[in-house]
Every structure is written in C-alpha cells, then in structure tokens.
C-alpha cells in the first residue's frame, strides 16, 4: 500500500513539474501576454516598455524560467494580474467554494445515484429500470450549462423559489472561518447564514450533479447486475442468508468497487462541470476563476497555478480512490 502511495506521489510531482514547464514556456511564447493584460486600453508604448522591464520580460527566457521555478518551489506563484493579489490567496479563497459545490454535487450524485442504480438493477427490465435508463441517458446528453440555465430560469425567475446566483444572500454578515459557507455558519452558530448558504447551494449542486449522477446510476446498475450474477451471491443464497444480509453484505460492497473508481474519475468531470455551473450561477469558485483568468485578461499566474491545482486534485483524489478501493477490496491490499 505504502508503495502505491509513494509511487503515486512521485508521479504527482513529476506530472506537476512537466505541466509547469510546459505551461510556462507555452505562455511565454504567446503574443499578448501579461504586459498587455496588465495595461488597459489607455496604455502607451512607454508604459508598455516600463512594464516589460519591471516584469523582467526583457531577460532571457531561461532566467525567467529559473526565477519562476525558484518561486514555485518556495510556494510562490506570483500575483494575479487582474487583482494584484497573491495567487495563493486568490486560489485559497475560490477553492472552498468549488469544493463546497463539488462535495454537495457528489453527495447528491452518490446519495441518489447508488440507490437509484441499485433499484434499477433489481427491477431490471421493468418500468423503473427503463425510466431510469432513459433519464440518465438524457442526463448525460444534455449540455449542463443549458440545464443550469433552464433550472435557473424556471425556479428563480418565474417563481422566486431559489436565489438566482451567488453563494449567500448579499449583505449577510457571515463570518469566514473555513471558507465553506455552510460549515462556517454551523461553526459560528450563525444557523440562518448556514441555511441561507445551503439554500443557495441547491440549484448549482443539482446542476453539477447531473452528469455524475447519471453515470453513477448507470455504473451502479451495471455493477449490481454483474455482481448478482456472481457465483458468491449464489453461495450466499445457498447459505439461506436473508435477503437484506445478502444485499448489504454481499452485493453492495462488491458492486461498489467500480462505483468508487467512477466517483474518482468523476472528480475530473466535476471540476470541468464546475467551470460551467459556476459561470451560470455566479459562484465564486475555481471555475469562475478559470473563466475570469482566461477571458478577463489572461491572468497567467493564476492560470498556471490552477492547472497545477486541478492536476494535483485529480491525482490526489484518485489516490484516495485507490486507497478506498483497497479499503473495500482486500485483493488490492498488496502485501
């Protein structure tokens, strides 16, 4: 197990270094670049020149690279071009927002997906199963930003049921502790702030959950069907075990294995989906940060850090998945 973890970590570091180098040189080779992004439309050639010198872009590329590397190694990703804040601050502010959203979505997807998938499998070929299959197929096929858009239009405009955007009502005096608004409210006993944040979370989380939900339902269904066909289920039946015991102890645990992997892989989809969902719901998370960093003036330092972060999150989550896999499946516990 330890070997797998360390192997993954080494892999993580190498991947990150490779990504970093790639992104660095790529960015430097582009026209425009930070100078342009920093200067508004009122820039004059002088200011441009001053800025180029100030940023050290007149120096050879390898000097810039070594400086960049040195910074990164010391955990300094520079400042955001757009806001002038240290990138670490920008990201650590957006990160909890996205995590909050992603976790909520994952809770919905997993909490709903596994039971639904299980039910569909048990009702194989019957109405419930067919309906589930069709709905999940549509769930996979619908552009999620459009779904978000529709939900928002239906539930926040015609009937003011949910708030249209944001993470919390404007002007709510909530105290930042962790950056997870729902959690913060609970920690500081500002329960109504917590409730308010939760209320804001509903629609975005549902939107973001659609695709993972659909996929988890399908995987669970397929996996349960596979497991139901397994010899050991027949053995369990032959033991005369109660149906509930068989389901809980024998079917579910085995059926969960592929589901766990899927959940891990869905983190990627979740991050990507967050970009779209956050844009629709003005959710100030990493997704918004990415779009802002691209279209609102190419904010390269933030972009670089985001790319690394996304990769790191993805790899770490999958490492966690591997570990949980090992937890569920003893065959994987190596030595």
């Amino acid at each position: 197990m330890l070997r797998v973890v360390s192997r993954r970590l080494v892999q993580l570091v190498i991947t990150l270094i490779a990504l970093m180098t790639l992104v660095f040189f790529w960015l430097r080779s582009l026209p425009g670049g930070p100078v342009d992004a920093l200067l508004g439309e009122r820039a004059t050639p002088q200011t441009r020149e001053t800025l180029t010198r100030a940023l050290g872009y007149d120096q050879p590329i390898w000097v810039q690279y070594s400086r960049f590397l040195k910074n990164v190694v010391t955990g300094n990703f520079g400042n955001s071009i757009r806001t002038g804040e240290p990138v670490a601050d920008v990201i650590s502010r957006s990160f909890p927002a996205t995590i909050e959203l992603a976790v909520a979505a994952m809770i919905i997807a997993v909490g709903l997906g596994i039971p639904l998938g299980y039910l569909a499998a048990r009702h194989r070929g019957r109405l419930l199963d067919n309906v589930t299959i069709i709905v999940t197929l549509i769930g996979i096929s619908i552009p999620i930003f459009f779904l978000g858009y529709l939900l928002k239009d239906w539930l926040t405009q015609d009937i003011h049921f949910f708030p249209p955007s944001g993470r919390i009502s404007t002007g709510t005096d909530n105290t930042d502790v962790t950056g997870f608004f729902v959690l913060d409210g609970l920690l500081t006993r500002e329960l109504d702030a917590s409730a308010d944040a939760l209320w804001h979370l509903v629609l975005p989380a549902i939107t973001l959950a659609t695709i993972p939900l659909a996929i988890i339902v399908r995987i669970t269904r397929a996996s349960v069907l596979d497991v139901l066909d397994e010899d050991y289920i027949r053995t369990a039946d032959a033991k005369g075990l109660r149906n509930t015991t068989i389901r809980k102890r024998h079917v579910l645990r085995n059926a969960l294995l592929p589901v766990v992997t899927t959940v891990g892989l869905q983190t990627g989809a979740l991050l990507a989906g967050a970009v779209l969902t956050e844009k629709v719901y003005n959710w100030g998370g990493l997704g918004t940060l990415i779009t802002d960093s691209i279209s609102g003036g190419r904010d390269y330092p933030v972009l670089q850090a985001l790319i690394l972060l996304a990769a790191a999150v993805f790899i770490v989550v999958n490492l966690l998945v591997d570990l949980s896999y090992a937890f569920i499946d003893p065959r994987v516990r190596v030595q």
């Binding site: 026209p31 920093l38 200067l39 200011t47 800025l51 100030a54 919390i168 002007g171 709510t172 802002d292």
Partner: protein, 527 residues
C-alpha cells in the same frame, strides 16, 4: 457574531443600497487604477479637485471650490473648500493636495510607475523624465494650492476631474505604505493602503471587500462636506454575467444593475424597472489601416467604405437603447463638435461607384474584431462585425474576418503590429475635452491607422490641442472634425452607445453620468 439576517430584509427599505457591478476592482488607490469597475467604489470614497455636474460632463468645483489658470496655461491655482476632513480625521488642506501631486511625480520604481496609466498619459512622466509635465506644487496658504506645469496641456482642467487623480489622505498613505508596489511573479502587490485602508474625503468610507462573495461595502460618511449619503450603507455586488445581474434584480436581491444587456432593456422597462440611460460619451469606430493595402490610401476607397455601412440599421438592430449614429469621433456634448461635418448616408451605389472610380473593385480586406469582450461602446463585437462585414460585402468588398481574443492578441495585432486592414474599436471619454477623443486617436502616428499617413492631420490636431483660448480651441477642433470626415477619414465613426443603469422602482436620486462616474450619495431607497 450574531446573524444579520433581519437586516437583510430591512436593507431593501432603509439603510442599504445594493448595486450590481460588472467586474472586480483592482484596488482602491486611485492613482494605480484605470478602469471603471475600480473607479466606481473609489469615486465614492474619494473626491477630486474638480468634478462634474451630476449627469453631465461639465465641470464644477470639487475639493477645490474654484480654480484659475494663468494665461500661459501653465499655472493652476486651486481654492480649496474649508473644513473638509479625510476619513482618518486629518484635514484636507493645500499641503495635502500638493503632497498628492508630489507623490505622483516622485513615484519610485518601474513597477509602480507602470501602473499609473493616467498619470503617464496626462502628466507625461516622472521625476527625471524630460517629458514630465509637472513642475511643482506649492501651498500658498492652507486653502490655496498652486500647481505649476512645464507647459500648457489642453486636457486641463478636465483632467483634474479624473478619478485617478483623486486626493488621498497623506497621513494614511504614509501610515499604510501607499507607495510600496512590489513585483511578484508576473504581477504586483499593492500596499495595505490600496487594499485595506483607502482614505479619502468621499461621501462613503471604505467598509471592506469580501472577495469570497464579491461584495464591496461602503459606509456612509457622516462627516461628508457635501450632501451626505442618504443610505447608511452601500454594497457593490460584483456579478460578471449580465444575465445574472438581471435575474438578481428581478429576484429583488439587488436594487440596481449596471450594463444591462441591450436586449433586456425594453423588457425590464416594461416590467416596471427604471432604465437610466447615460448620456452618450463614447464612440465606436471602424478603423482603417492604410499600410497593408495601398488601395486604402485612396480617400475614395475609405469613403466608399463609409457609404457602404448602413449605420442607421446597425443602431436600430444592434445598438443598445439610446444609441445614435456617430458622424464624428466625439459626442455632441463635447467642445469642438461640428454639426456640419460630411455625413456619409448609406448608399451602396455610391460606394460601388467610388470603388470603381478608385479602381478598387474586388477589394479584399482583413477585418479584425475582438472576442471574449464586451465594452460599453461595443456590447457584442461579433455581431457588430457580422453586420458591418455584411454591408461591406454588399458593396462588393470582400471581407476576411479575423477574430482575436481581446487580451490575447487583438490589441497587439491591431495596435502594435497593425496586421489588420479594418477593425472595430472605440473609446469612452474621460473628461470633456476634444483632445481626449480625437487627440487620442489621431493626434500622432499610430500603427493602428498606418503610422506614416496623414501628417497634415497630426499637426492640425496637435495645434488645436495646444490652443489655450477656449473659443479658438473650439473652432480649431470643429475644423479638425470637418476635415476628419471629409478629407482624412482615417476611420469611420459608427455610433455613440450610452450604457445604462437599471434600478428598481424604489431607488431614487440616482443620476446617470455620461462618464459612468455616478456618485451614490444622492441615492435613497423608498418603501
């Protein structure tokens, strides 16, 4: 901390005014900023020496009750308002004003200097630079500040009203290290003054910026020298998506939104929202680069392009409400506007005729247009391009559209490398001065229009700009505008498109400013 949910409900009716802005500010040190989203809160926190009459671009006294200019145009004397206090309690006096001018001039470090866009533009340069306009500033007495420049500049006194030149508390700047701008990676860190303790004399004091929720809080300054704010608190909520701004307005969670989508204006008005149109103070033009395609050097060809454009229809179909066709590069409210310039009425026949006269039939032009951007004067560049390109095609000019991202190439390609034959771009005026419009575009050789062309135009504009006498200046610029339209035609003006603010019915006293420089102390919220 206890919950303030209750306050939320009250907010709509009493103390708090929530305004949805469209983007993040950079920081709150006026001199380091150059964009509207930063200026919006800055304008509430600070005052300038000279300011604009609400709803116009006309000047009136700000921190300076009055000002005079000597005949050479180099010496400006400001008579300051009495009893004005900065938010930190220190008094605003001539010394404080001069401290600001000195601070700007003596700013150290390329990092900081590179961020002072307006200063470089207006004041030419810093201590030690031969182009520097600033000479000195003396506190004649507590309420009289005398600013001496090295030479006359037409931008003044309008430029004194620029939000970038707001007067900040020297004590606070000192305390919070305002001048420290450090470079870190590809960008800069600003001081705590700029980020956490902006201190001016404005109607609101800075209450904090919650970046996680995108809310900037401004509190009423009870000691304000002018009309005290009618609300206790103002929140600028940053919502980048125009659609979401509209939805929040409808949900009643904000009371005013900036920059509604052009398509939504009518619907919102019909629903009973107040659509406040700002008087037009911007210009969208179709730039022509004469360098790459020699045919464009021929005035007839440029005129043909002007004739080919159905600007009336463009305004009708794509122009935000209240937009008008532009026949010259400045709006009618600006000095030097000439009502009698040559107008190019839409005529495909004329365009074709001119083209064939110039032997330029079958012309193919590279038309650059920006993507990933929306500007007040250009809400949807792609659509505008499509319509313009269509018109040009109809006149027999082949158009090769080149979309480039605004920040990732468009500005470079157009303004630095001049790759285009045609492009669309525009400008929002900073102050009421013709030089701020035509001077910026055509006052000197620019890659954007093919640099070596039209020396005659440069000298004419430079001369007009240097004219001290206002009447003479007016005539000079009127002539410039007439010539621009008839003789030079370096670009085709398209429209003046005023951006709007939409508020709920119960918001009163919001006066839209042509410069998008609204002051919110006048805003009140009724039941």
């Amino acid at each position: 901390a206890e919950s303030d949910r209750g306050e939320d409900d009250e907010a709509a009716t009493s103390g708090t005014f929530i305004f949805a802005g469209a983007g993040d500010p950079k920081n709150f040190d006026p001199i380091f900023n150059d964009d509207g989203e930063s200026f919006r809160p800055i304008r509430q926190i600070y005052d300038t020496l000279v300011t604009h009459k609400p709803g116009t671009a006309d000047l009136e006294g700000g921190l300076a009750e009055s000002w005079t200019n000597d005949p050479t145009g180099k010496i400006w004397t400001f008579t300051l308002r009495q009893g004005v206090k900065f938010h930190d309690g220190t008094a605003l006096d001539a010394a404080a004003v001069c401290a600001n001018f000195d601070r700007w001039y003596n700013m150290k470090g390329e990092a900081a200097q590179s961020q002072m866009i307006y200063y470089t533009d207006i004041f030419g340069g810093f201590a030690g630079s031969p182009d520097a306009l600033y000479d000195n500033c003396k506190a004649q007495d507590a309420s009289t500040a005398v600013l001496t420049l090295k030479k006359y500049k037409g931008a003044f006194p309008g430029a004194f009203a620029l939000t970038a030149f707001s007067i900040a508390s020297p004590a606070a700047m000192k305390q919070y290290d305002a001048d420290t701008v450090t470079q870190n990676g590809d960008s800069f860190s600003y001081s705590t003054f700029a980020n956490e303790h902006p201190t001016g004399t404005g109607a609101f004091t800075y209450g904090g910026w919650d970046k996680a929720t995108g809310e900037i809080t401004l509190n009423k300054n009870p000691d304000y020298w002018g009309d005290k704010a009618k609300v206790d608190k103002m929140i600028i909520k940053i919502i980048k998506d125009e659609n979401t701004r509209k939805q929040e307005l409808r949900a009643g969670t904000v009371q005013a939104i900036d920059f509604p989508a052009p398509a939504d204006r009518k619907a919102l008005a019909d629903e009973g929202y107040e659509v406040l149109e700002r008087p037009a103070f911007n210009i969208l033009y179709l730039g022509i680069n004469q360098k790459n395609n020699p045919k464009l050097k021929d005035l007839r060809v440029r005129q043909a392009i002007a004739y080919a454009l159905n600007r009336e229809q463009l305004v009708q179909t794509k122009g935000p409400g209240g937009s008008v066709v532009a026949d010259q590069f400045l709006p009618s409210s600006v000095l030097g506007y000439a009502p009698d310039v040559q107008k190019y009425e839409y005529s495909v026949d004329k365009a074709k005729q001119l083209l064939s006269e110039a032997g330029a039939t079958g012309l193919t032009l590279n038309f650059y247009y920006p993507t990933e951007v929306s500007r007040p004067y250009m809400p949807n560049p792609q659509e505008i391009f499509t319509v313009l390109a269509n018109d040009l095609q109809a006149a027999g000019i082949k158009v090769n559209g080149v979309p480039r991202p605004w920040n990732g190439g468009f500005k470079d390609d157009v303004q630095q490398f001049g790759k285009q034959d045609l492009h669309i771009l525009g400008w929002t005026g900073d102050y009421n001065d013709p030089g701020n419009f035509v001077g910026t575009f055509f006052g000197r050789p620019k890659v954007e229009f093919g640099d070596d062309a039209l020396t005659e135009m440069f000298t004419a504009i430079t001369k007009a700009d240097a004219t001290v006498d206002q009447a003479a200046k007016k005539t000079a610029f009127e002539q410039v505008n007439r010539d621009l339209a008839a003789k030079w035609l370096p670009a085709v003006p398209i429209w003046h498109a005023p951006p709007a603010i939409v508020t709920t019915k119960n918001v009163e006293g919001l006066v839209p400013s042509p410069l998008t420089a609204e002051e919110f102390n006048t805003v009140s919220i009724t039941k």
